[in-house]
């Protein structure tokens, strides 16, 4: 009330003043400038009389006075807001509501069980607006979020950037955060349509996450979806884009002749006979000269069949055969609107990702639908009904049941260039893997997910609200695997059955997860006098889930065109999987704000989980945070024109974690398996195995986080800076019980609350917003963050290096220090006769093998006792944790045109890669020869059938076609430590808003056209055929995952 009175008094005063000057042509105009979104005064806005030099700025209270004549125009500008123009009329009072262009400190931020003004936040919260996520050609929302939020890093799953790939998210280097959409916990971001997102809040410190207690040990991502606006109008929006995608940093095979020479050299190094016979090499040469010749001949070992692999003579770059251009498209449509009583938002979306695989089916598509209805039933009761639905479908090749999806990448990479594709009869070879991938059937996973939420807000008294919501989520997953029989041809042209693909079979499973959650909470806000603002909240949450799976498979399909269990004739195998889940908790919050200067918040949550034994189930997790808006102090007024905002925030909080704990560790449960690897009485019986070891004391992990943050704005709010530093200590973390002798006979020891870690980090973000002249606006946004995690306590009394140890930095790489390649035979002789490198390998050491540095000066290269105190000649040679991750966004707008550019990367990272994609040579049938692998050591001349000529200053060591011989050189060591730092142009976009002139002729309010490019450039020292984002992932080994892609996208947004 008092503010209103004050305002009224001032208005009256102004009026009096105005009248007194009315006699003059130039009158004194006064007014207030406020932010339209939160109705708060907007300080530092510029008020100018158009065409003159008469300029003033608004004060802290948003007020200004200026002299102007009737008929002149006032232009009010403020960075981040649309310009406001008003003609001076007879009234000398101007009240301007400025419409925000960009998020600023004035915005309202969604936090756990409520909202807060950003200016009054005390914890570490980052906000990402929905606009940042749209118009990106990524299939999933997580890919669009990467690099936009300080402290949040993203990594691909084991399959890399497969169609529909969801990145995993880590806040401050911890595990997967808790994701809440409109108050409802969600397992994955994958089903969320980026176009439905109004905003995201990322709660990073313990104080902001504490209200979610048990579920949120690693921070929270809160997503608020769009609602209709109560403006009495219907708005229809359409957005769509179409992308052409291409693999980037994809390897290529050396031609078959070069590869054959290299294979033969490696075979000779291993003491084996040539991998390619002279006759085969002659055929390869003839074929290369005349590709119309046959790609293969009858096999030497069985002339009825065709020769394969190193015996055939084709010349294929299998990567080019398998991977190429792909298409991806997205369409979204929404209807929204409403009036004072009811608003609605309806949307539908479609994403189709055809992937880059040229052979077989490997694709993803998703449909989304979202309906949200907000109704004010009475003055004191609101109701929200929200239905979200998605349907995704993912197809992958089954690979003849020989391998899982990852087999695709492994098989293509190990197929030699000389393998034939088509036999002289014109039939595709099995060893080209094309029948495996194209004809052997597909795995299909369809997920149907529906979330129905009912929420109500009751306001019994002014300042008191009661919220209750109940949500039910049904997730149904349907998996079908069709496994068909495949054939190639023999020399006579008859079919040859691929035995492993017979019998054909079909496997299916159906999962249903039913999840229910109830939240009830109540908030009471009151003021004591003008300056003391209080708020209190308390609530209860309960969740319960039931999961059940039924799976079955059956052999021998009657026909491959109707694959089903009913149309198969073999025995049926069936299995089930049933489990329940439950947590509950109560929580409360106390908030105090003194005059928007001093802020204090207390949170507490008492949580229980089904996972632990009775007596260990419950934990209490409190937090406290405080803030000081120094720039709201009177003494700041002199500095205010330069430093517009200066706020200090500090928090301490404790969080509980049950996510890492497997349930039932207090019970000795027997293992059960079917299909014993032995036949008794004609059948493979089911059998049981020994019960696990138990630990009845497993309970909550606890982590305490201290966070200190600063929010600053400078130069008329054009420069905004937010920075945070934090330290997170985790206690009673679940670790392996301890390193115990193997005679215990248990491989997976029960977890125990015995480990401690410490993460230290900082985050920095800035935004610079400005305009040059009226039409040109630009902004620069940058984020930079870093963290390191150290294990401070670990049950490893001997310090053995096969497991973690106290003092270990997360991601550290132990290895040997290389000392070049052995250059002379004399050097090699010394090593052999002195058994110097016997600790690495017992094989004979030759020139071109790696020489290792004797760090402990004992004359031998060994792993010592393989402990921290006696690591032999090993030491920490690098760290795989990405350091100094950053994102940089540049934007510019000129009239209807806009341009943006977004770079993302990590400034420091080490990687050790292994396997055939890195080394080229592994063994006879697990090698991949790329041009980059040819820089290997050789000290003999080449001839027509062997070798590539001398190259003693090589990067790679002497190659062998034998795993155990290559082991001499392929141990973890400094010579092959890679610098995995990178900078990537993630996105560049050029867009155009059709001018009003054209729009007026249509019913459209807005037409926006854009073209954008994704992953257009990468700066890194990594080998050309490894992508810095996917190099070390791959279930089948390094580099064996779906390649990263570039995309060129054309898009259009329409608004009616």
């Amino acid at each position: 009330m008092s503010t209103f009175n004050k305002l009224l008094r001032q208005l009256l005063l102004i009026l009096v003043f105005s009248f007194s000057f009315y006699a003059f042509a130039q009158q004194r105009i006064s007014g207030t400038v406020i932010n339209s979104s939160n109705k708060l005064p907007l300080p530092g806005a510029t008020v100018q009389v158009k065409g003159t030099h008469r300029t003033v700025q608004t004060g802290i209270d948003g007020k200004f006075t200026i002299d102007a004549s009737v008929g002149e125009t006032l232009v009010i500008t403020s960075v981040g807001f649309e310009n406001y123009e008003v003609k001076v009329g007879s009234v000398s009072q101007v009240n301007a509501e400025m419409v925000s262009l960009e998020p600023t400190l004035g915005e309202v931020v969604v936090v756990g069980y409520g909202t807060e003004q950003k200016v009054n936040l005390t914890g570490a919260v980052s906000v990402l607006k929905g606009e940042e996520l749209v118009n990106r050609p990524t299939a999933t929302i997580s890919q669009a979020m990467q690099g936009k939020i300080p402290g949040v890093s993203f990594t691909t799953g084991p399959y890399g950037f497969e169609p529909g790939a969801a990145l995993s998210i880590q806040i401050r280097g911890q595990g997967t955060p808790f994701i809440v959409v409109d108050g409802v916990p969600t397992i994955s971001l994958n089903g969320i349509n980026p176009n439905d997102v109004e905003s995201m809040s990322i709660l990073k410190d313990a104080a902001t996450a504490a209200i979610y207690g048990a579920r949120a040990p690693y921070g929270v991502v809160l997503i608020t979806t769009k609602s209709g606006a109560a403006n009495g109008k219907l708005t229809i929006e359409y957005s769509g884009n179409y992308s052409v995608i291409q693999p980037i940093r994809m390897p290529h095979l050396s031609d078959s002749y070069t590869a054959a020479l290299a294979y033969n050299e490696a075979a000779e190094n291993s003491g084996a006979s040539p991998a390619y016979t002279n006759a085969t090499i002659d055929r390869i040469l003839a074929y290369q000269a005349d590709p119309s010749l046959a790609e293969t001949v009858p096999s030497l070992s069985n002339p009825v069949l065709w020769a394969n692999n190193l015996e055939s003579n084709a010349n294929y770059d299998w990567f080019n055969v398998y991977y190429g251009d792909g298409r991806r498209h997205q369409h979204n449509i929404s209807l929204s609107g409403g009036n004072k009583g009811v608003t609605f938002f309806l949307s539908g979306g479609f994403v189709g990702d055809g992937g880059i695989l040229q052979i077989g089916k490997d694709n993803y598509r998703r449909y989304n639908a979202n309906a949200k209805l907000d109704a004010s039933l009475t003055k004191w009761m609101k109701l929200v009904v929200n239905t979200r639905y998605y349907n995704t479908s993912r197809n992958t090749p089954t690979l003849d049941n020989q391998a899982n999806y990852e087999g695709l990448f492994a098989q293509v990479a190990r197929t030699p260039a000389s393998q034939y594709l088509k036999s002289p009869n014109g039939v595709v070879s099995i060893q080209s893997k094309i029948p495996f991938i194209r004809d052997a059937g597909n795995d299909n996973t369809i997920i149907n997910d529906i979330v129905q939420r009912f929420a109500t807000e009751i306001t019994p008294l002014n300042g008191w609200t009661i919220n209750a919501d109940f949500t039910i989520q049904l997730t149904h997953k349907q998996f079908t695997s069709n496994n068909f029989t495949i054939y190639e041809d023999n020399v006579a042209g008859g079919p040859v059955l691929q035995g492993s693909s017979s019998p054909s079979f079909v496997a299916k499973s159906q999962d249903l997860n039913t999840y229910r959650t109830l939240n009830v909470y109540s908030t009471y806000k009151f003021d004591a006098g003008a300056k003391h603002h209080f708020s209190m909240m308390a609530g209860y949450q309960h969740e319960h889930a039931e999961f059940s799976q039924l799976s079955a498979s059956r052999n021998t399909l009657i026909t491959q065109s109707v694959p089903s269990i009913a149309t198969a004739t073999g025995t049926t195998n069936a299995n089930d999987d049933v489990n329940n889940y439950a947590t509950e908790g109560i929580f409360s919050r106390f908030y105090y704000n003194y005059d928007n200067r001093y802020l204090l918040e207390l949170n507490g949550r008492y949580d229980g989980t089904y996972k632990f034994a009775e007596g260990k189930r419950w934990g209490f997790f409190p937090s406290i945070s405080a803030g000081w808006n120094a720039s709201n102090e009177n003494f700041w007024n002199n500095i205010k024109p330069y430093v517009n905002v200066f706020k200090i925030r500090g928090s301490w909080g404790s969080l509980g974690n049950q996510l890492n704990a497997a349930p039932y560790q207090d019970l000795a449960l027997l293992g059960t398996s079917s299909n014993l690897q032995w036949i008794i009485n004609g059948l493979r019986p089911s059998f049981t195995t020994a019960p696990n070891l138990v630990n009845p004391d497993v309970t909550w992990e606890t982590s305490n986080t201290i966070n200190l943050g600063f929010d600053l704005a400078f130069l008329r709010n054009r420069l905004n800076i937010t920075t945070d530093i934090y330290e997170r200590k985790t206690f009673e973390q679940l670790g392996p019980a301890q390193a115990v002798p193997a005679v215990i006979g248990v491989v997976n020891l029960p977890q125990s609350n015995n480990m401690e870690t410490k993460t230290k980090g900082w985050e920095f973000s800035f935004t610079w917003n400005d305009n040059v002249g009226k039409d040109f606006k630009y902004s620069v946004t940058g984020i930079l963050f870093d963290y390191t995690t150290t294990i401070t306590k670990y049950n490893n009394p001997t310090g053995i290096l096969t497991t973690s140890y106290a003092g270990q930095k997360q991601g550290e790489i132990w290895g040997f220090v290389s000392n070049g390649l052995i250059a002379t035979q004399a050097e090699a002789d010394d090593i052999n006769t002195g058994f110097i490198q016997q600790g690495i390998s017992g094989h004979l050491w030759k020139t071109g093998d790696v020489r290792y540095t004797d760090l402990n000066k004992d004359g031998l290269i060994t792993i010592g006792a393989n402990t921290v105190s006696d690591p032999g000649d090993q030491k920490v040679i690098g760290n795989t944790t990405p350091r100094y991750q950053y994102g940089l966004t540049l934007r510019a707008e000129w009239k209807g045109l806009d341009f943006s550019m977004f770079w993302q990367g990590a400034a420091k990272r080490d990687l050790i890669l292994s396997g055939n994609m890195f080394w080229g040579f592994i063994s006879g049938n697990q090698s991949s020869i790329f041009p980059g692998h040819l820089d290997y050591y050789r000290d003999v001349d080449a001839d027509k059938y062997k070798g590539l000529g001398k190259n003693t200053e090589s990067y790679f060591p002497r190659p062998y076609l034998d795993l155990s011989m290559n082991a001499k050189n392929q141990v973890t060591q400094t010579r092959y430590l890679l610098n995995a730092a990178y900078a990537r142009l993630k996105n560049m976009q050029l867009g155009y808003h059709m001018p009003g002139l054209i729009l007026r002729k249509t019913k459209l309010q807005n037409i926006y056209l854009y073209v954008s490019g994704e992953n257009l450039a990468t700066i890194t020292d990594m080998p050309d055929h490894f992508d810095p984002e996917t190099a070390n992932v791959g279930v089948a080994g390094n580099g064996k995952s779906y390649f990263s892609q570039s995309a060129i996208t054309f898009g259009i947004n329409l608004r009616f």
Partner: protein, 587 residues
């Protein structure tokens, strides 16, 4: 204040809530188990996975499809080699860091059976067989440890994480072996006879336990005898006690009318021996005491064996050192060296295939034999695959065919690289017991009854009866490094021939301390005839014209480290964790 009272009430209500009681719905706890004899049977099934066969060769290359038939090449033997010299023979091993064969999961599992089985309330007749299986497997699992590591800690119970027994030192070797034999005696007592066991010879039975007992006892007797006085010697050694135990086990097996044992002899010396290893069904053979059956329709329970001994070799190559053990058809030593001076290449194979023990033709390919006769056509063997590459390459000229069935649908790779072969795997056969008996009897200084033992094997092969002969060429292939009687030498020869390429050789040379067979020597192949192969093919041969595959790789021969390589290293990590555990000699 009221608010706080309300809070306290709410907290206590929530804490008492039963919402969080969610017991497991698809797992059985230990206290719910161990009720019926069926529970015991279901639990014991898991241990059948320990037997080595085509799909399960413990701790060597997975999917090593030649199974036991090729396992000597991997473990290390003078009779079978691969492209690279075996680590064990060549002294190129390094101490393991962790894991390897030092795996105790199954021993804990069988101890858990002993801790729980008495909870079952049933008559002994219904549970005895399963208890017998547990005794057998405990013995099997510990014998695996003794074979590879020597004396090891003996555990009777499963342990918790804080059990001080985890840090026990090794138990005395004699105590460990005596405990193994004690368990085998219990197994013999409680297991059913082969004819009564559910699953007959796919199931453990008294006969298997007795054969295994003779194996363990013979191994231990010879180890204690021949390693005496070396770093691998046994404190309190008493070799004769164990030789006697081996003899007793076989004598028991020969009790008239009691056990189902015999030597399968259908009067077809050209194929009777081979058919033991090439059949899909061995349930009728009284010789096969235990075998692993394969059936593709049982969730692809099948393998790749026939492909790997026909169209391919999987890099398993028989050596001249084995071949020289085969006697001529007359029962007298055959002078391979003299023959090789004039007859070379394929002709040499043809000649020895005719002149020698018919079992030779059933171990290596002889020109003219049918390799496969099925949907991939009919193909005869003409010459060894010296000129082929990769998995089809042969390095010695003696190309393995033991167990071949040309009619098998997968022979010749007729079904592509397909895991579709159903040839059965022999785990225990009576012939071994007879060889164990003869050897143990001789070691005791007693005369074996050859009519009840080796002559049964000779007769099946169409060879004359066993006789003691003096082979003047013996040092070329049987230079033991110490003197033994001609009779013992001939028994060892018969063992090499009858059990050729079945995975026994690695243990045999180790228990005989016979590194002299190969130390600083190189394995050889057949006498090479260059005109049979393309001129460009380079095959290393020695001065006498024999293929010499390791000539370039180990010019000085095998570099076996005598004071070290008889036992595997205890993983370094285990010694770090338990300083009471002493490392094996030399490591």
């Amino acid at each position: 204040m009221k608010k706080y009272i309300y809070m306290v009430v709410l907290v206590s209500l929530v804490a008492c809530s039963k919402n969080l009681d969610q017991p497991p719905q698809d797992q059985i706890s230990n206290s719910q188990y161990w009720k019926t004899a069926q529970d015991l049977e279901t639990y014991m099934y898991q241990f059948y996975r320990v037997f080595p066969h085509f799909k399960n060769l413990v701790n060597i290359v997975p999917n090593f499809f030649i199974g036991n038939i090729g396992s000597d090449a991997v473990y290390g033997s003078d009779h079978q080699v691969m492209t690279a010299p075996a680590t064990q023979l060549n002294g190129t091993g390094t101490a393991t860091t962790s894991g390897g064969n030092w795996n105790w999961v199954n021993i804990r599992s069988v101890n858990i059976f002993f801790e729980n089985y008495q909870k079952v309330n049933d008559v002994p007749g219904n549970i005895n067989h399963f208890v017998g299986e547990a005794h057998f497997f405990k013995a099997w699992l510990y014998f695996e440890k003794v074979r590879l590591f020597g004396d090891v800690p003996w555990y009777t119970n499963s342990m918790q994480i804080d059990d001080p027994a985890l840090y026990n030192p090794r138990t005395k070797r004699t105590e460990v072996v005596d405990s193994i034999l004690w368990h085998l005696d219990r197994a013999v007592e409680k297991l059913k006879l082969r004819k009564d066991a559910a699953g007959t010879n796919n199931r453990l039975n008294k006969e298997v336990a007795l054969i295994f007992k003779s194996r363990v006892a013979l191994f231990e007797g010879s180890w204690q005898k021949y390693h005496a006085g070396t770093p691998f010697g046994t404190a309190g050694a008493d070799p004769n006690k164990y030789f006697q135990s081996a003899v007793d086990a076989v004598t028991e097996l020969q009790t008239p009318g009691k056990y189902t044992v015999g030597i399968t002899n259908n009067g077809k010396p050209a194929s009777d021996y081979n058919s033991l290893f090439s059949s899909r069904d061995l349930s009728a053979s009284t010789e096969i005491a235990l075998w692993c059956k394969f059936d593709k329709s049982q969730s692809t329970w099948s393998h790749n064996f026939q492909q790997f001994i026909t169209r391919q070799t999987n890099d398993v190559n028989v050596t001249y050192q084995l071949i020289q053990n085969y006697l001529g058809t007359t029962g007298l030593p055959y002078d391979y060296g003299s023959v090789a001076l004039t007859v070379k290449g394929s002709a040499f194979l043809t000649k020895i295939g005719t002149d020698c023990d018919p079992r030779l033709r059933q171990v290596i390919w002889i020109p003219g034999q049918t390799m496969w006769d099925n949907s991939a056509g009919t193909v005869l063997f003409t010459k060894p695959f010296l000129d082929k590459t990769g998995n089809a390459k042969n390095n010695t000229g003696f190309q393995l065919n033991k167990g071949v069935d040309p009619k098998d649908p997968t022979a010749g790779g007729a079904l592509g690289f397909a895991t579709a072969c159903e040839t059965g795997a022999v785990i225990f056969r009576y012939a071994e017991a007879l060889l164990n008996y003869a050897e143990a009897k001789l070691e005791l200084g007693q005369a074996p009854d050859y009519d009840k033992s080796l002559n049964l094997l000779r007769s099946r092969a169409g060879m004359p009866d066993f006789s003691v002969i003096a082979d003047v060429n013996r040092l070329n292939y049987a230079d033991w490094g110490y003197a033994i009687s001609d009779e013992l030498n001939e028994v060892r020869r018969e063992r090499a021939v009858e059990l050729a390429c079945e995975g026994f050789r690695y243990d045999d040379w180790r228990r005989w301390r016979a590194h002299n067979l190969f130390l600083q020597k190189r394995p050889l192949g057949f006498p090479y005839l260059a005109s049979e192969y393309p001129a460009s093919l380079v095959v290393p041969t020695n001065a006498d014209g024999f293929v010499d595959p390791f000539m370039g790789i180990i010019p000085g021969g095998y570099n076996f480290i005598v004071g070290r390589d008889y036992l595997e290293s205890i993983p370094i990590n285990e010694i770090t964790l338990n300083p009471n555990l002493a490392q094996n000699p030399g490591w």
